[in-house]
Amino acid sequence: MERDDIIEYSLHTHHDEATGVDLRKKIWKVTGLLTLITAVEVIIGATIHQDHNLWEMVKWGFIILTIVKAFFIVMSFMHLGDEKKTLRYVILLPYFVFILYLIFICLTEGNAVHAALKSIGF
């Protein structure tokens, strides 16, 4: 059954060749960036070890670089950056609120269990 009263949003996403050239340029730029970040991570990971005194800083560096990579994949490759603001927040906000809480509670509890087990000489 065809309905003519519904907006077919899929038809409004078309673009012409000139826009396509720009978009492809952007895609390759993001590709270069993601590859560069991964290469930097691997080089640092192979040279600076966990007993190094800079390790704590390197660890946080890795986590930040991971979030940067994730940001580019979601915003650029998955086109979430091009969607309406409301959709962006509906997707991202509940996720972040829940996941940040879970990270906080689980790592705190993990440390507490570690200390408790240690105190009974496990």
Partner: protein, 340 residues
Amino acid sequence: MSNHNETQNDSATAWGGKVSPFSTSYGKLMMWFFLVSDALTFGGLLIAYGFTRHACQVAWPIGEETFNSLPFLGHGYPLLYVALMTFILIVSSVTMVLAVEAGHRMDKKGVQKWMLATIIGGLFFVGSQAWEWYHFIHGSEFGKIELADGSKAIVQGHFGEIKDFTVVEAGKHHKKGEVVKEDLLHQFHHAIEHGKLKNDTITLHDGSKALVHRAKDEHVVLVIKEDGAKYKTGQKVEAGADKMYLEVINSGTPHRVIYGANLKVNEYGPTQYAQFFFFITGFHGFHVFSGVVFNFLIFLKVVEGRYHRRGHYEMVEKTGLYWHFVDLVWVFVFTFFYLV
């Protein structure tokens, strides 16, 4: 894209349920909601891994020590293989974006080309993961050893190649004087695990005894991973390490050496590490595999021309969202299993 909002609606049609508040089609919206729930699943799994790691009492495996092999080239290449895997997945994500972009221009040939590239990239990734698992399960040539003082250590260095076994006492299959040249490393490991190697004499599966001819190990370093009476975690033993290693593998006592990882023992560290590794990378690999299947089905319909007749390639966009999500999850798995 940017021209989403060009269609103007009066309030009558808006209240009639004609427009989406997100200016997105139903299918794409539902794909996003599914991905949010799937992201929560992966988030939960990775956080459970974090909990276990923080609660764990013994040394957690280190990425560049555990994953340092390349196919055909052997050991000594920390993280290079997994970097290659990551690169393959990023590239296949890029080819997927290019397929979506070609779809927006109604360029059927372009969509076909880039989707095919995406499928091939996905298959390469799944294959690499199979190799990674195989390697993780079989373990290093040296194995993890239990020293005389009760401490446990992993071994770094160059493993002396096994040349052959010369049978000195006949069994069911092998005759005296026979020289065994096949499947040497596997039989060698198996014998050591079961305490069947003593004074360089190995007891084979059929009960025959053979003399092992093996080159000398070089540059041997023992890295202590669990405390004993004499050695403490983190310590590196270099002087006399090769003799200590030979003493352990020749002791004839079972279970002093562990090779590789499964759900019961793990050469690289606590067993929980292996369990999470298998579960999370396995769950991710299953996502990659199903993504390849979806991409392939959609590819067939692109070739058939169904979406061209429909007037838009939104199905490619939806399967593309799923495919990028798989890449997104890998970025996090890569960081928390291999880097930190």
